[in-house]
Amino acid sequence: MTVFIAILSRTAKALLTLLAIAVLNFFLIHAAPGDPAVVLAGEAGAADPQMIEQLRERFGLDQPFHVQLGKYVWGILQLDLGYSFRQGAPVIDLIADRLPATLLLTLTAFVISLVFGIALGVAAAARVGRASDSALTTLALLFYATPLYWAALMAVLVFSVWLGWLPGFGYETVGASYSGFARVLDIAKHLVLPALTLGLFFMAVYMRMTRASMLEVSTADFVKTAKAKGLSGPAIRRRHILRNAILPVVTLAGLQAGQLVGGAVLTETVFAWPGIGRLMFESLAARDYNTILGVFLVSAAMVILFNIVTDIVYRIVDPRIGARA
């Protein structure tokens, strides 16, 4: 019950935050130089003032700023993200088209980074001071220091171009019209490289965090208690240290969801992944206001969702939180 109430109150706060984000971004994006009507007219091949005026009228850009803002906010309150004039479709449809790809990519990367990060962190902590620990921590440091896009480029070069093991870009084999399991397999193959490169950096983060946290918890008094009970080393690590050490990692992971979603812009660009990050980047150059704003809102909502999920996980793992609230 308390969990439910806590989530309810968080959601209420989250909705306010989202609205604030919408307003702020509206200001930001409209402050950018460049008129979407001119861009669109340019794309049409030739522009004369008459056409630009037509376009401005259609976009509602001829109206005063506060009217535009008011209309936008009013639309948002009705879950209407506006219309993309450049793409000729409602923004919500554009995003709905692209969102599954982004969700698949970020969630996979999230899970990969969390699972492998924690596993490697535990392994390193168990071998602390030994050569294998140094090797693992050095590796993590390297991952941490490697630019995401560079790793992506190198991965494509090696695994796709030289070795030919995995497709280097795209979401699925176009026109292969696979169905059922074959399609899942096909998408999974395309997913490997982008998810890995996106997850690599965060894997390093979680690994270092897990290792540090494991080492810190292993000096806790209750670990001494467990030893005094006659538990074996692995049992202590599993039952006592890991469970306590994982809490800060989960918190951090939830907080970093925003970076993960942002990092998807780079990954989606290099791997031609048809997600919302790329949609935003492309819309930016065209000053496709509504689409940029829509993507921002949706990705902020994703961040909040990640946060709420980690919060729930935290509450499940840690009995103290729910009771205290």
Partner: protein, 278 residues
Amino acid sequence: MWKRFSSNRPALVGVVLLIAVIAVALLAPVLFPNGPWKMVQRPFLMPMAVDGLPLGTDTLGRDVAAQLAYGAQVSLLVGLVSTLVALLIGVPLGALAGFYGGYVDEGAMRFTEFFQTIPNFALAIVLVAIFEPTLASITLAIAIVSWPPVARLVRAEVMSVRRREFVDAARLAGLSKPRILLTQVLPNTVSPIIVMASLMVATAILLESSLSFLGLGDPNALSWGYMIGAARTVIRSAWWLSFFPGLAIIITVLALNLIGEGLNDALNPHLRQRGQKP
């Protein structure tokens, strides 16, 4: 503290690497008086293929070694200045929130959370695009997306220091609140801030390179990310054009991380002992 730091071999490696990078950056105008943009030879020369061009030439026949050296200037400058700006935003905000609590805290933290909810790289892209890519706008954008963790850290530190008894003693001495914050509380939060700052410089360098890679770099200031972005299309035929700047980024970021960890161990001796030989 220096003793503890200097006994940490990885941290020393970090210092040596960073000094090397800084030296190259400072000496760039001496080593390469022609600047990084001068077209000096045929394009796409392999490293060592021609004397005097140890790292080869790029797509326009410019000296890659010169570009790396000048790129170091830009990367370090952006990394340092953006971190400073982020500190200038985050430290006061976090300090006020942590020290005064109540509505100040609530307001400041809402503000911070708000910025953390916006995916930061996406925000940086939009900011740079809006202000147009110049060194100043890139630096500012990186600062704007980097300060929230600073504010959170400073707030937490201030809150914990504020509860220490010497702060009560200072209040009993009749010191004003701003003075207590400035002279008693903040000096005691410096160590974790320094550690975080050193790691932030590393992150800022990565961010700058990512922006440049996407074409949002300052076209008049050659940076490593800019080089990789420019060379990305020829990665198959001229691997060295993206490889060396990538390596330079890795080395610099690695060095900063090693230093950051070394500082952390040296400044927080309690944490240092976990698991290692005391």
